[in-house]
């Protein structure tokens, strides 16, 4: 900010100085209050300030505003030229008067000013054009050119050094550089057709003006009353530069005119490509991407109409956007292409027909459509054709290889866009699912309580972990009355969400049956009945039910397909496997079920331990793929029976972790440890 401000300030200072100098020179020519040498210095100051004024003036312009730059240069040139010719004509027909010397001086100064303005304005304007998209080398060459010009200028103007050879050499060298530099006209390619026509006109006039100014200056310089200041090599070189650069620009423009439509076309493609990738970055909706794709493709290949269809599934197809076509026309073209041309629009091929009319003349006598060329490019994602863009043109053979490649490029870009869009959508959905799952987990935590409460007659500890966020294992202990409690443990086949749902249903059914007087077999039977109705065909539930009576110290149990519990007898130091006949729930879904289960009884003594578990515990695998197995559980009971239940739980957890190494459990696993008082 401050930089450009200081530039403007500098520019205005130069303007001020030049006006001041201009006034001074005029008075000087009349009054002669200072010597002749002063006038020369004043001219030097005047031309240099004008020069620098334009340097800053033009460097403030926008880099790519070529038309504006040329327009300004042109206007300045015309004004200078008018001033110049006015002065020249005045010089020739100046009437004799006592103020003649003053007027002559004024005209002469004006002449110099107009030439300076013309040449410096042209010089810096063309410098800007020349250095557009410069290479390092061009920039370097330009610097050499400019500096040699300045050196030559100082040497000639101030006559400080009378080294004519140096002066001649620098001028000759800069002239030589000039011929290398004037052929850098890259800016021409960036104009559109209209600007090119304008620029053509302006550059021609600028070169004309420069040659006229040069010509008259040369003629004037031999007139005795105008001393040779106009014929300065510095001015010659700048004028030569302005002339030759504008002339070359004119020629380049002439030869560029016929191909300018191609450039414009290419630009349009680039802009369209940008628009497509823009819509990708800005996360526009799918429909918007389709629209941008269609519009870009149509304008890029000069098609007259088109549409995009997508295939949500094998059978369906949906037209998502169309341009310059009625729905009926789309249908008509579709029918022609699929019926008479037998195009399979769902294949990965690019279809390209030179003339629809020729292809189908036999089968359709009257063709309502007026389109001849046909182009269809598939939209492919994950190796699957999910849509197609169809473009038509009224001219025959309207699409060539080049244009088709553009459309294919566009389609690829659009596919990425839409891919991204879908990925974001999927991510959002996934996030929502995660939240739902978290809720499910919370619900499950309420069903499978970590803290089961305190019961008379035994102490207990429990542990449960799911392979997924939610699982199918379940256990619970409920009081029936003051002396009896019921212990449930089970496992729903499968894991994850469906297992969790079935688990919740099972828990509900079981809880409903916790009433005084109930028997374990009845619970299993009723649960089987309830689940038969709701479980899917390949699902089943395993269950063990224990009713503990702490007065009689008797336990009755029914095993319905569940892993047999283990009972550690304190008096014998032996572990009993509580095996019995038992069918899983949901396997036999009729009243034959009760034939396959039975109820067993046993008495316990204080210090006895009951270990109940789900199959996840014994099927936990180590790195060799071996199972934990029941034997290890028996061993565990024998070893750690003296610990209290909490310590036993921690111990068993450690054992399982140690056994499985770093392997994640494949299945849900749960266990319950009861130690009787």
């Amino acid at each position: 900010m401050s930089f450009s401000k200081s530039k403007i300030l500098l520019k205005n200072i130069f303007l001020f100085i030049s006006i001041l100098t201009f006034t001074f020179i005029n008075f000087q020519s009349y009054f002669h209050f200072l010597g002749n040498q002063t006038t020369i210095y004043a001219y030097f100051l005047l031309s240099i300030t004008i020069f620098y004024y334009f340097k800053f003036e033009i460097s403030n312009l926008k880099k790519t505003a070529f038309s504006e730059l040329i327009w300004r240069t042109f206007i300045t040139s015309v004004v200078c030229f008018l001033a110049f010719t006015f002065c020249v004509s005045l010089l020739k027909s100046l009437p004799e008067s006592k103020h003649k010397i003053f007027i002559l001086g004024f005209i002469k100064t004006l002449l110099i000013v107009s030439i300076c303005i013309f040449s410096s304005n042209g010089f810096f304007a063309f410098k800007k054009l020349l250095l557009y998209q410069k290479s390092k080398f061009i920039h370097f060459s330009w610097l050499i050119f400019e500096y040699s010009l300045i050196i030559g200028f100082i040497v000639s103007e101030l006559t400080i050094f009378n080294y004519e050879k140096i002066y001649f050499f620098t001028m000759a060298f800069s002239a030589f550089m000039l011929f290398y530099l004037i052929f850098h006209q890259k800016w021409v390619a960036y104009l559109n057709f209209k600007s090119k026509i304008e620029a053509l006109f302006f550059t021609f006039l600028i070169s004309l003006v420069s040659i006229l100014i040069a010509f008259y200056s040369w003629k004037l310089s031999i007139e005795p009353y105008v001393f040779g200041i106009l014929y300065k090599p510095f001015i010659v070189i700048t004028l030569l530069f302005v002339f030759s650069y504008s002339l070359v620009a004119f020629l380049v423009l002439v030869f560029n005119l016929p191909t300018s439509s191609v450039f414009e076309q290419k630009f349009e493609e680039i802009v369209s490509m940008h628009r497509l990738s823009d819509s990708l970055q800005k996360g526009k909706s799918e429909e918007q991407v389709y629209e941008v794709l269609l519009n870009s493709s149509i304008s890029a290949v000069l098609a007259d109409a088109g549409w995009i269809e997508i295939y949500p599934n094998e059978k369906e197809e949906k037209i998502v956007t169309r341009q310059q076509l009625y729905f009926g026309q789309v249908e008509e073209i579709k029918q022609i292409t699929s019926n008479s041309l037998k195009l399979n629009l769902k294949s990965k091929e690019v279809f390209w027909i030179k003339s629809l009319k020729n292809e189908i003349k036999s089968s359709y006598s009257v063709i309502a459509i007026r389109y001849e060329s046909f182009l269809s490019v598939p939209l492919i994602r994950a190796d699957l054709v999910w849509g197609r863009i169809i473009l038509v043109r009224e001219t025959r053979d309207g699409f060539d290889k080049e244009l088709i490649d553009i459309v294919i490029n566009f389609c690829n870009q659009a596919c990425i866009s839409i891919d991204n869009f879908k990925l974001i959508q999927e991510a959002v959905t996934l996030e929502r699912f995660k939240e739902e799952m978290q809720i499910a987990k919370d619900v499950q935590k309420r069903l499978i309580k970590e803290d089961l409460g305190i019961f008379k007659g035994y102490s207990l500890s429990n542990y449960s972990v799911s392979a997924d966020l939610v699982g199918g294992d379940f256990y619970d202990i409920c009081k029936i009355n003051e002396t009896q409690s019921i212990v449930l443990i089970g496992d729903v086949s499968g894991k994850g969400t469906s297992a969790a749902f079935n688990m919740a249903v099972t828990m509900g059914a079981l809880h409903a049956m916790v009433v005084p007087g109930v028997s374990t077999a009845l619970i299993a039977e009723r649960a089987n009945m309830a689940l038969s109705a709701s479980l899917e065909k390949a699902s089943f539930v395993t269950l063990s039910v224990f009713i503990i009576d702490i007065i009689t110290k008797n336990i009755s149990f029914t095993r319905a397909g569940h892993c047999p519990g283990l009972l550690f007898r304190k008096c014998t130091n032996q572990v009993e496997v509580l095996n019995s006949k038992g069918m899983g729930l949901g396997i036999i879904r009729n009243n034959k079920f009760n034939q396959h289960i039975d109820t067993q009884n046993f008495n316990y003594e204080p210090g006895d331990i009951l270990l109940l578990y789900t199959d996840g515990v014994i099927e936990i695998q180590n790195e060799k793929g071996e199972w934990f197995e029941t034997n290890k559980l028996i061993e565990f009971l024998n070893t750690y029976a003296t610990l209290d239940v909490i310590k036993m739980k921690e111990r068993l957890k450690k054992e399982l972790e140690y056994f499985s190494g770093n392997k994640e459990p494949k299945d849900d696993l749960s266990f319950l440890i009861l130690k009787f008082n």
Binding site: T542, A560, G582, I587, R589, D615
Partner: protein, 119 residues
């Protein structure tokens, strides 16, 4: 990647043998289900399952067998498992499936079952 390898051998017009090799877990049970379904639809009287090289069956795998029990009974098709390892048999037996399914020692025994098994 499927952990299970299933080889289907059609012995005769009414006898098909499915040879299982590997583990049947939740994902590989889908393949077992497919093969079993095809066998049931193929109208064979007897379907023999060779479990000699079956290392493990998960509850999902058991569910597959279980889900056909009713249909097999209706269609009077005999499903026989043979060569089952003790560890795998344990899994069948805990669930109670061994009571309602025909599980025999080897193929010969399975073939003999033809006369007694079909009710």
């Amino acid at each position: 990647m499927s952990l299970i390898e299933i080889t289907v051998i059609v012995e005769s017009k009414d006898l098909i043998i499915l040879k299982l090799k590997g583990d049947i877990d939740a994902s590989s049970s889908i393949r077992l289900d497919k093969e079993l379904e095809a066998a049931v639809l193929g109208a064979y009287n007897r379907i023999l399952i060779d479990c000699t090289h079956l290392d493990y069956i998960s509850s999902a795998g058991l569910g597959v067998f279980m889900s056909y029990i009713h249909e097999l009974e209706e269609k009077k098709i005999t499903l026989i498992l043979f060569g089952i390892a003790e560890k795998v048999f344990e899994i069948f037996s805990i669930l109670g499936l061994s009571e309602i399914m025909n599980i025999v020692k080897d193929k010969q025994e399975a073939l003999n079952l033809k006369y007694i098994g079909n009710n």
